[in-house]
Structure formats: C-alpha cells, structure tokens
Amino acid sequence: MLVLDIVSSILLFAGVFFGLTGAVGLFRFPDFFTRVHAASITDSIAVILIISGLLLQTAFDLNTAKLLFILLFLMITSPTASHALAKSARHGGLLTLGESKQQKQQMQQKEAGQ
C-alpha cells in the first residue's frame, strides 16, 4: 500500500507540474498558435498523470471505471476542442508570428517603394 501511495503521489505531482507549466505558457508564448500548443499538450499530459495517480488509489471497483471514463472522454474532447479553436482562429484571420513579421516587412517595402 505504501509503495502505491508513493507512486500515486509522484504521478499527481508530475501532473500538477505539467499543469503549472501549461498555465505559464499561456501567458509567455509569443503568438496564439503556440499558446494553443502550450495549453493543449500540457493539458492532456496533466490529465493522464493526475487520473493515473487517482486510479492507483482505487480498489478495483466502480470508481476505477468512472476514472477511466473521465480519462477516455478528456482524451477525445481535449484535442478536438484545441483543433476547433485553432481552426476557428485561422478563419478569424489570426496569423502566426512568422506570417505577421512577413506581412510587416512587405508593408515596409511597399512604403519604401513609394
């Protein structure tokens, strides 16, 4: 039981670490699509680690099934939501960092030409 507790704590703290890095990345990354990357990737790994940590705390009963269902559902919905968000941002006209730099350069060249 003690070994299970230790492994479970390690998994939980690892999951929390990834969650915190994701939250910091949400503020620190330069353009929108990298921020989606930070949020979604750390989101999914944090979910896997924390739910696994909780799974080790269950006896093999209904709660195990519920936790597995939450894990499965989040593993399906989290990437779907990220994809939909990036797609709708693209439709909304958001540019990546490289593209917006390129656009700025072209504007400057046009101004210099005139």
Partner: protein, 88 residues
Amino acid sequence: MTAVFSAVCIAILVVMALALARAMKAPTVYDRILGVNMFGTKTVLFIAVIGYLMGRPEFLDIAIVYALINFIGMVAVLRYFEYTAPTE
C-alpha cells in the same frame, strides 16, 4: 495521502486562477476561449481530486457531467465565433 491531495488541490486552484486571469485579460477573443477551455478541464480534475480528499469518490459523477458540459459549451461558442471574426 491527505497532505498530498491538499497540495494537489491547491496547485490545481492556482492553475485555474491563472487560466481565469488569462480569460479576463487577453489580446484576442480566441485567447479568452483558450483560457476558459483550460479552466474547464482543470475544474474536472479539481472535482475528481477533491472527491478523494474528502473521502467521497461519488464526486466523480459530477466530474463526468462537468466534462460533458464543458465540451458542448466549447463547441457551441466556437461555432458562433468561427465565421463572425471578431477583432478587439
């Protein structure tokens, strides 16, 4: 294990606060939606962990329902914003 669960709960609350701060103050509307999405996912985890902290794993049912509602809400909001192209 109670101490571990408490620490994890507090850390998840910090993550939720950061996501909410991002949702309140962000350059584009998509960043706000991203913050809200992260807030929702972390809420599911928070409910699951706090169920084990209180010794009441029945909270997992609420976590499942919250995950479903969060996803449906996300898709609905994104459908609304996909072609209206709001810029702030």
